[in-house]
């Protein structure tokens, strides 16, 4: 992808999400901004409680936005919007959930689970609906016969495929995948990741991929944003981030990836991120591009170090 051809599909501007009131007020996401280009896979990494899922849910309008806005194809989709727009984005933005054991209705047949969304967007004849369900099942590598079964008859990997089929049937353009492989076995993970990559190639989908594990991200994403306590601390193209991880939190995340290599694993020094290593009282941090396509949060003193680290290579 060249720079000129990039078209912004989704844009998050200064997003803030607050839960609770007064004493229980908790700022889950604070001042987050990023753009997602059409056709790319944008990764959001952070530990549990960092607010990465909240951002995903705010985009799809499950969590209300307290400040800032979300633009989809240039239109604001956060806050109050018209009915038509609401209908449109419900169709075009879909979500895949983390735990395939919990995200499927145990009492409904696969047929209904997958086509539930279709009931809301228009009148489909039973034949048309059936045809679409079969197509969606085939697309994710399952057999059309499975439509008449219940979720408990499937393994974890197959259930996750059903979850993916459910989002595909709406013919979305943008999919939010919230830790789609965390609950799966390693061998099944590979299958699901390959499926997601293949669907992207075939349909030109755009993904927002949320995960806590950077090793998976390297394989699937084009750009990654690292989020800590509701604030994005580093954003870069995937390879740049792995080559020059600048922010100490990114470095801690990278050092925690287990490597399938006993010799280097035993030598490894685990980095632990301690937020008190920053001196932000007198010199507040700012957001800057240290090399093309690589942004990081830091104050003047840190920024010097970051620039030096990048220049060294």
């Amino acid at each position: 992808m060249t720079a000129e051809k990039k078209e912004v599909l989704l844009s998050v501007r200064d997003l803030q999400v607050v839960f609770g009131e007064r004493k229980n007020r908790f700022v889950a996401v604070d001042g987050v901004s990023f753009d997602i280009y059409r056709g790319e896979t944008f990764g959001l990494v952070g530990e549990s409680g960092s607010g990465k899922t909240t951002i995903g849910r705010a985009i799809i309008r499950i969590n209300p936005v307290t400040k800032g806005e979300v633009l989809y194809k240039g239109e604001r989709i956060s806050g109050k919007i018209s009915r038509e727009l609401d209908k449109k984005i419900t169709r075009e933005i879909q979500m895949i959930f983390q735990d395939p054991m919990a995200s499927l209705n145990e009492r409904a047949k696969v047929d209904y689970i997958i086509s539930e969304g279709l009931y809301n967007i228009g009148h489909f004849s039973p034949e048309e609906r059936k045809r679409r369900v079969e197509q969606a099942l085939l697309d994710v590598g399952l057999l059309p016969e499975f439509a008449s079964r219940f979720p408990h008859e499937f393994s974890g990997g197959q259930r996750q495929r059903i979850g993916i089929a459910r989002s595909l049937i709406m013919e979305p353009e943008f999919i939010i995948a919230d830790e789609p492989i965390s609950a799966l076995d390693v061998s099944i993970r590979a299958q699901v990741l390959n499926l997601l990559a293949e669907l992207q190639r075939k349909r030109g989908l755009t993904y927002l991929f949320i995960a806590h594990d950077l090793s998976v991200m390297r394989f699937i994403t084009d750009r990654i944003a690292v989020i800590h306590k509701g604030v994005i601390v580093e954003l870069a193209e995937t390879e740049l981030l792995f080559r020059h991880p600048l922010h100490p939190y990114t470095q801690a995340l990278l050092s925690a990836i287990p490597q399938p290599d006993p010799i280097s694993e035993r030598k490894k020094v685990l980095k632990v991120y301690d937020p008190s290593c920053h001196h932000y009282e007198e010199d507040p941090p700012f957001w800057e591009e240290v090399e093309p396509g690589h942004f990081v949060l830091g104050n003047h003193q840190e920024m010097e170090g970051y620039r030096a680290a990048v220049a060294q290579d």
């Binding site: 549990s48 590979a190 995340l253």
Partner: protein, 352 residues
């Protein structure tokens, strides 16, 4: 460790475990033998359904009601645990001799009792302590597993702890009774990567401090490179390959081990398809003929479908159950990822 094969702490011989499910018989463990050496840390790796959890549950008498040990022996301290029937017998083993850390810290703690009570419960039974002495011991346990402010934490409930902290509490309970063997069943699967690394470090430290023998059960080979001395790879209720950590990572011999290693996303190259194992694990309700992995194995030989392979020894510590190691077998090159790993190991490979 593997260098002192004399100190076998637990020896499993030809173990068979069967489950009765609605009138049908499922062969969960099919003739597994394993020696566990004192002070080592062994990792058992396999997909879900490979029988790795069931295998270790037999050591503690925790099989479900419909499961039976149909054959074989589990020798511990000169006694055959496979013959134990009564709960009374098991209570001497459980917790005191062999303890377990379960996968999900959200479900393995009682949400209605304080953390202090839950740790104290085990200690009171084991050491017969009461009152102040008991509390002192509990606080010591909490400090041991790296929980700060133990005095305050003592009176808190599980919901006030984060996932990683909760797993530390579970570990504290397991270690509190001074067991000799600690079984960790997917101890980090439910946790974040950063927390995972910390928990593994903690388990390693505790192992040194209390001279524990540890068994890790996991589906993720990447996790165990750091913690395991030896690795056993399980598939369809059988150990298909066992060797030291270096041997299994740098010189794997069984096609299933190749497949497991190749599918790690850490080894993936962007833009290329990630390696994935085709097909599904075999149905254990039916008797398995030959090598259980053969139908999914691109390198399968004809003999793999007919006869079960014996163990072939690669080195004194490394053996694998595959016909590929038979002298008569054609030479099969392992997949690309494996050769790459072998290079990282640098000259560890023996004769290929």
């Amino acid at each position: 460790m593997a260098e002192h094969p004399s100190n076998v702490i637990l020896s499993v011989q030809d173990l068979d475990v069967k489950f009765n499910l609605r009138g049908r018989v499922l062969n969960a463990i099919r003739g597994v033998s394993l020696d566990l050496y004192e002070g080592e840390s062994l990792a058992i790796v396999g997909e879900s359904g490979s029988g790795k959890s069931v295998f270790t549950k037999t050591f503690m008498g925790l099989l479900d009601q419909n499961g039976v040990i149909a054959g074989g022996k589990i020798l511990y301290n000169g006694q055959d645990l496979a013959k134990y029937k009564k709960e009374k017998d098991w209570l001497k083993i459980r917790g005191r001799e062999i303890a377990m850390v379960l996968q999900d810290p959200m479900t393995s703690l009682n949400p209605l009792k304080t953390i202090g009570y839950q740790i104290g419960e085990a200690i009171a039974i084991r050491h017969g302590l009461r009152g102040k002495a008991l509390k002192e011991k509990v606080l010591e346990c909490l400090r041991d597993v790296g929980i700060t402010e133990p005095e305050r934490r003592y009176h808190q409930y599980p919901h006030e702890f984060s996932g990683g902290m909760r797993q530390r509490v579970v570990i504290a309970i397991a270690v509190a009774c001074g067991p000799r063997i600690l079984i960790c069943d997917e101890p980090t699967t439910a946790l974040d990567v950063t927390i995972q690394a910390q928990i593994l470090k903690l388990l390693k430290e505790l192992k040194e401090k209390y001279h524990l023998t540890t068994i890790y059960i996991t589906h993720d080979l990447g996790v165990v490179a750091n913690v395991a001395d030896r690795i056993a790879v399980m598939y369809a209720g059988d150990i298909v390959e066992i060797g030291t950590c270096e041997e299994v990572f740098y010189d794997p011999r069984h096609p299933y081990t190749w497949a497991l290693l190749s599918s790690l996303p850490q080894l993936g190259v962007k833009g290329q398809e990630l390696y994935s194992i085709k097909g599904t694990p075999p149905n254990l309700f039916q008797e398995i003929k030959g090598d259980a992995f053969a139908p999914r194995n691109p390198h399968a030989l004809k003999v793999d479908f007919k006869a079960r392979s014996p163990y072939f020894e690669v080195s004194p510590t490394h053996k694998a159950r595959t016909w590929l190691l038979d002298p008569r077998a054609p030479k099969v090159e392992p997949p690309e990822h494996i050769s790459q790993l072998r290079k990282q190991g640098g000259g560890l490979s023996h004769d290929c």
